[in-house]
């Protein structure tokens, strides 16, 4: 038996150590060297350039989307609602939904607000069933919600911009009276009022109850 036959048989029996394994870092470097050989510099450099620029474009466009979107909820509602005024939305049907992904079991009303001149006063009498009031900035960010379980029979609150809130005297009667003060992070946005109709034939009466809801500029 020659030595060259003998050595592998010894290795198989684990009598001799196997050829030492490459250090992991060295293996990475070797793989990188192989890639460099396959992809010369004039390909690798533009490729890296493309990836970096694509990443920047992607992040910038995602961040800009809420400002640039043409069919955001606020833009859609501007077509049918006046600022600082309550507007009942039509029921969601297969053919038409004012806002996508609306729950068809609810009757909804919206109020587009503009706080630049005066704060907004929202008053929503509770309907026969679950009722909630949610607040969104014009860019669609949800920042507050309240339901009749938490608020009691009538949901009543004042929506203020940060500067109006700061101008409020510390011990104003507003806080003493059972009135809630909510601070909006933006000057413009949407108040969404949703009332649950447990059966479809109750929708009409819920809708009439929701007509009593109001949002007005306060002084």
């Amino acid at each position: 038996m020659s030595l060259s036959d003998f050595l592998p048989s010894l290795r198989r029996q684990r009598l001799l150590p196997r050829t030492s394994r490459l250090h992991p870092l060295r293996r990475v470097r070797r793989a990188f060297d192989r890639m460099r050989a396959a992809l010369p510099e004039h390909v690798l450099l533009p490729l890296a350039f493309i990836l970096v620029i694509a990443g920047i474009v992607h992040l910038a466009s995602v961040l800009a989307m809420p400002v640039l979107a043409q069919k955001s909820a606020y833009q859609r509602l501007l077509d049918m609602a006046q600022p600082n005024h309550m507007t009942l939305l039509p029921d969601a049907t297969p053919a038409d939904m004012t806002l996508p992904m609306t729950d068809p079991a609810f009757v909804s009303a919206v109020c587009l607000y503009d706080l630049r001149e005066r704060p907004l006063r929202v008053r929503v009498p509770a309907t026969a069933d679950y009722t909630s009031v949610s607040f969104y900035t014009a860019r669609g960010l949800a920042f507050y919600a309240l339901n009749d379980q938490a608020a009691g029979r009538v949901i009543e609150l004042d929506l203020l911009s940060p500067s109006q809130r700061a101008a409020l005297p510390e011990d104003e009667e507003i806080t003493a009276a059972d009135r809630l003060v909510v601070e909006s992070p933006a000057d413009r946005g949407i108040v969404l009022i949703r009332a649950y109709a447990r059966y479809p034939d109750l929708r009409e009466s819920i809708r009439r109850q929701l007509e009593a809801a109001s949002c007005t500029s306060s002084n």
């Binding site: 989307m65 949800a142 339901n147 447990r198």
Partner: protein, 191 residues
């Protein structure tokens, strides 16, 4: 680099970046997805902590996400075994639901439109549904009329189901761990 290759490289980079944005904004509803069986929820999308992808997706679609203090939305586009929901099949949604003041189940087509039908039935509410004696729900989605809690699918190809829990004393941590809290979605019979 010479001008022409530079222009080509830039064009490729911008196309790739915008393409990536388009895909992420149309396919995703945010990065904080919480999965529970067939259902996926995005609890942070209805809060001020919504991530940039959620904000971008909602700005593009025009949807106002449910405020977390109001309710929580779960979507199922696949059954519990991972197969896409097919409106031509009989699909059963059965199991118990977490505690909530009100819940609704809504059936939609792939694009999120309600599916037209003569009964104007687009979903069930917690008050309409007939419960099993143990308090569990048992809904059937099918193109053919069925006994019990039936939702007509109009034989659409792909459908998806929204489950909304309102005024639910819900914490995110419990949603990730217990997959048993949301009902099972099973495809039962395909023609």
């Amino acid at each position: 680099m010479r001008p022409l290759p530079l222009a080509v490289t830039l064009a490729v980079a911008v196309t790739l970046g915008l393409g990536l944005t388009y895909v992420s904004v149309t396919q995703s509803r945010g990065m904080d997805a919480v999965r529970s069986g067939a259902w996926t929820g995005w609890p942070r999308s209805g809060t001020t902590q919504a991530d940039p992808y959620a904000r971008a997706a909602f700005a593009r679609s025009g949807e106002l996400p449910l405020e977390l203090a109001d309710g929580l939305l779960f979507l199922a586009a696949q059954d519990s075994a991972g197969a896409p929901l097919d409106g031509r099949c009989d699909i059963r949604i059965a199991g118990t639901l977490p505690q909530a003041q009100v819940w609704t189940v809504t059936l939609m087509d792939e694009e999120g439109h309600l599916i037209p039908n003569d009964a104007h039935r687009y979903g069930f509410t917690s008050n309409e549904v007939v419960y099993r004696p143990d308090g569990a729900i048992d809904l059937v989605l099918s193109p053919r009329a069925q006994a019990g809690n039936w939702l007509p699918t109009g034989a659409r190809g792909r459908v998806k189901v929204a489950l909304r829990l309102y005024d639910a004393p819900f914490s995110f941590s419990s949603a990730t761990g217990e997959s048993s809290t949301l009902p099972q979605v099973t495809t039962e019979h395909c023609p």
